[in-house]
Symmetry: C2
Amino acid sequence: MPFSPGSGTGWVDAMSEELSERSRLILKAIIEDYTVTGEPVGSRTLSRREGINLSPASVRNVMADLEELGYLSSPHTSAGRVPTEKGYRFYVASLLRVRQLSRDLREYLRRECQLRELDTEGLLREAGRILSATSNYTGLVMVPRFTTTVFRRIEFVRFSETRVLVVFITQAGIVQHKLVEVSEPLTQAELDEVTNYLNQEFTGLSVQEIKRRVARQMAQERAIFDSLQRRALLLSSSVLQHDLDDRVFVEGASNILEQPEFADLAVMKRLLRTFDQKALLVELLDKAQQVEGVQILIGSAEAHSEIEGCSLVTSCYSSDRGTTGILGVLGPTRMPYAMVIPLVDYAARLVSEILKNESDTI
Amino acid sequence: MPFSPGSGTGWVDAMSEELSERSRLILKAIIEDYTVTGEPVGSRTLSRREGINLSPASVRNVMADLEELGYLSSPHTSAGRVPTEKGYRFYVASLLRVRQLSRDLREYLRRECQLRELDTEGLLREAGRILSATSNYTGLVMVPRFTTTVFRRIEFVRFSETRVLVVFITQAGIVQHKLVEVSEPLTQAELDEVTNYLNQEFTGLSVQEIKRRVARQMAQERAIFDSLQRRALLLSSSVLQHDLDDRVFVEGASNILEQPEFADLAVMKRLLRTFDQKALLVELLDKAQQVEGVQILIGSAEAHSEIEGCSLVTSCYSSDRGTTGILGVLGPTRMPYAMVIPLVDYAARLVSEILKNESDTI
DNA sequence: CGTTAGCACTCCGCGGGGATGAGTGCTAAC
DNA sequence: GTTAGCACTCATCCCCGCGGAGTGCTAACG
């Protein structure tokens, strides 16, 4: 379960700064306490804690140092300390030890995913739901990018004079569809021929490869009067022209409202608006998708004010060569990473495994 | 734009009780004032209002009567009056005069819907988004019930040894898909044969009709050894067995948070949880779907506590014989019905029209 | 008899002013 | 280096008193 160093603001990255053993201990304790209570942590509380044999005053000294270094902050003079984002990043990168998911939970997840007969889209949605229910935060799942998917089958259905419904099925079993306008009328019989031709020609190729091939053939055989082939090429190029939308499933949006840090109305609205629009989610997930393994984004106010106070834990899943999507959990930065990280990790592995198993290559 | 009398608690229904002209005037004024301000309305405010030439004291007398009858209530002794649900129902059933939608808005909606090349699902989603954006509340769209839809085309794609991906396209252009388990392995070639057979056999029938036919044939021809036909029947019956899920699009869930009446955290959570789960939405929409025309449900605490304080304005759309879905707006009971009702009405007509136009029968 | 002015009453919301208590930083002693 | 002690700072809570909006009632008016 490697944490890859991310790039850009907010992503957890290796830290150069070194802290003394004692400072690390105290920072860890503060974060773990704060994770549970959500309240600023005071020196008394800490000094009473198992494993810390220091008086409140000594603890205060350390805390003052940590605050100076930017790992902690205090909401006001007479409150305890709260971890900063920097503190969290350090914690996740250097202090956190994640355990494996309990056997029970692993088996539970596996059963949930396999229980129902689900097509791929159903499986992905279900994965999101499970992530959400298990973590009590919001589950996010992005279906694989269209261009990286491997083509399995295409179908054309005549819809009206000039409109054709294109159904595109990827190797992983994701069904996407789209209505395209055609310049010259086509009968269903002609469409069927086109369908056969394209299915023979392109099965097993990635969308990218198909695009290249279509372009090449169209250039090459401009003079060809085999109308079937010409039409097929025209149609498929107009299908591939615009990518089909990237799709994100957001499950359990209301879960996040339970978090006391989002009790503020304005914050809550901003968050839900983000869920509604999805554009930012796609952007974030996309960025995380470029890296393997579990990725952790700890909300940074500068970069993405919409999800201030939030963290995003993600991992990629894949079905076959090149085709990867991403799934994860969005919750408050004050999140039990030791639980969420292995959860997301396992979910991604599970989805990958199921996708690979259930679709043999044709 | 007829308002059909609904059945069951909460649905707007014809009212037997009669009110004096003056009472009606005052009730109307109170509701319209409250719709704008969201604050309890006092007698002074009303008496100063255009069209009411009564002193505050007289107004108070009428208000006391209306309160006695259950059309109004006062949050506490020294606040003004607020309409009750009963008050709203009476208002919608008897006092409200809806104007037509402005030409500008009509044209705007039409343009928005036709602007992009959208397949049916895209159109329905877009309709939801537009309803939400125009009303500033939450847009709901339910795709037509599976059993009432008319079959256009089916495709089978071999997915693994024992799994077949079924893609089902309705006359209206809605694509649904599903993975089914088969007992005996099938090659893609066999599946193609089955596909052809079924498409020839069933195009243009409703799912219900197909179900009946399949059942009849299976009973009749038990002894038939034409394996193609047998397999085709087996497959299609296992597809039709479980209805595909009813699907609801919820657009602009965050809009509803802007409403001051939902500023309360608990209320808000309950509402969003309802959006997440969708089951209740399906139930409500389903009930409204049984009636033609614009339907108005004014939130009733007894029947559906989850949407207490909310109203639902819906109307059915249809593409072809029998196939109807429903769309609408969910907002606070304090809602400008005079605007929302024609909006929903027009949206439903628009969607119906576009669906009918763009798909000729094959 | 309906309408209206006047008046006492009620109750919400707001702002001020302790009291409380948690937590800190500093200093000095161990 | 660690710790006890102490003064200090704020947020929170609660209480109180006030102003204002709005009511219901009563009595006077046309």
